[in-house]
């Protein structure tokens, strides 16, 4: 056990302050363990959202020493022994209490996206897909909706364009639907005009913070941007689209 110092944000949407706590940190602890110890011994009213403590539920997202991370996956031995650890709520979303933010805006965005719409079933009634055809969509299904990517995206975080851009999490949802071999819905026009693909400037912070290591920018956002180019900016692709008609076979 070694005593370590923590600065934890305490407050709500009206304001607040950093409170300093000293905690004896045990071997193998993660930041979420520290928060639980503070709750148990020093501040029983400290609010923190968590669930699985295994990096799979996406609940314990926060900013630790300025970096958006899951507190259950942030090991204490990743910091220097004399380093003060600062723990804050996510910046992009309104603070409810202490480390808990209101992420309901994300659910609203999800509802705006046209759901999966498969074509008619084959004569035998069975849809068939090959693994290589669904692999791209499957990568995006790893998303645990921790919203770290939404939090770090400067379009939402600093430029406050929540009314114009759905954010990286929903760009991967759009990509997973658009690339699905059985889906027949066409969302490309909305990707540009309503979901705001043009606002993303590919700075890749969403990819950097993803705890599931999803290649958000390279495998979802850029391919969607290229599909937008096909539809609206590439004269050759536009002509081919006009001639060959529908997007999906």
């Amino acid at each position: 056990m070694a005593e370590r110092t923590f600065r934890v944000w305490r407050g709500d949407k009206t304001g607040g302050k950093f409170a300093e706590y000293k905690v004896d940190v045990g071997k193998g602890w993660v930041v979420l363990d520290v928060i639980h110890r503070i709750q148990a011994t020093q501040a029983s009213d400290l609010a923190c959202r968590w669930n699985c403590k295994a990096g799979k539920c996406g609940s314990c997202s926060m900013e630790i020493n300025g970096k958006p991370r899951l507190s259950c996956l942030t090991r204490m031995n990743s910091f220097k022994e004399d380093e003060v650890v600062t723990i804050q709520p996510l910046k992009t979303f309104p603070i409810m209490k202490d480390l808990v933010t209101d992420v309901s805006w994300n659910y609203t965005q999800n509802k705006r996206i046209a759901p999966f719409k498969p074509g008619p079933r084959p004569k035998d009634g069975q849809y068939r897909m090959y693994q290589r055809d669904v692999e791209r969509s499957q990568e995006f299904r790893k998303c645990i909706e921790c919203y770290l990517c939404q939090n770090v995206c400067h379009v939402l975080r600093d430029q406050d364009k929540k009314d114009k851009f759905v954010g990286p999490r929903f760009m991967i949802r759009l990509a997973s639907l658009e690339m699905h071999p059985l889906d027949t819905e066409d969302r490309i026009e909305k990707v540009m005009n309503e979901y705001g693909s043009g606002l993303c400037n590919i700075t890749k912070c969403c990819t950097d913070v993803c705890p599931e290591h999803i290649h958000i920018t390279d495998n979802a956002i850029i391919p969607l941007k290229e599909r937008v180019v096909d539809r609206f900016f590439d004269p050759i692709a536009i002509i081919l689209h006009k001639i060959f008609g529908k997007k999906k076979s």
Binding site: R7, W9, G11, G15, G16, K17, F18, A19, E20, Q42, A43, E63, N65, G66, K67, P68, T86, Q88, P89, K91, I95, Y130, R132, D133, V152, H154, V155, R157, D158, Q159, K161, F165, E178, M179, H180, P181, G196, G198, L199, C200, N201, I202, T203, K204, C205, D208, V209, T217, D218, I222, P223, E226, R227, V228, V229, D230, F233, D234, K248, S249
Partner: protein, 275 residues
Amino acid sequence: MKETQTQAHSTNFASTNRTDLWWIEPMATGFGFLCFVVYTTWAMFQAGYYYAAPYLSPLYSPTLMIDPTAAGSAPLGTAWFGAWPGWWPKFLPPSPAMLVLIGPLSFRLTCYYYRKFYYRSFFATPPACAVTALPQKDYKGETHLLLFQNIHRYCLYIAIVYILILTCDVFRAFFKDGQFGVGVGTVVLYINVLLLSKYTFGCHALRHLLGGRTDCFSCANGKEHLGYSLWQKVTHLNENHMFWAWVSMIWVGFTDLYVRMVSMGIWHDFNTWRH
């Protein structure tokens, strides 16, 4: 328990609670790129010492027109359109590089990787992850002025033509006065085209065009089509696109420097021609 009054998050430019050296990456990449821009601009305005038989600097290839009176210029016979025209403005040097550099430059300027680093380094939107971006009254991203980024795939087509031209230059670098041989310059030129190919053929737009644009790789007959294997190969290169972008850029500069130094007689080219 001790308490200190403050805000949860600052909205000031470049504010962050990150404790690591987050500013090193944007500074280093920005400085590295500026060095390349300064060197290529200087080299472009030299209008000479770009040819040391049989090596042609990649910054000057293809030689569309040549001023044969310039020191270290390529033979007039290698020019696509003959001698430099008399009407060319005096304040601009008769440099073949001025006519050709816009091609590869536009490819790099609109490249998805370069966009990432120059938006960070030069436009601070954001300077680094979770570091407050430069405040903008009405952020437009790539929707208004920057819509031109969508021409990237056309820049790719031009870049592929350059790869073919530079490959021909490597082939010519094996022959001096009609005699086959190899010099250090041949190897330098060969590595140059190899690195540029790794960068160009790992392009995100190419990845999309060759296979990424389809929703199903094998729906037609249950067998994977050619696009899928091409897409896989481009994906393999694309995973290291940043690495190839940097090494190819640095090597282009070095290749020009090598040819320039040999042409000026400062460096000696070791080769099998023995002169």
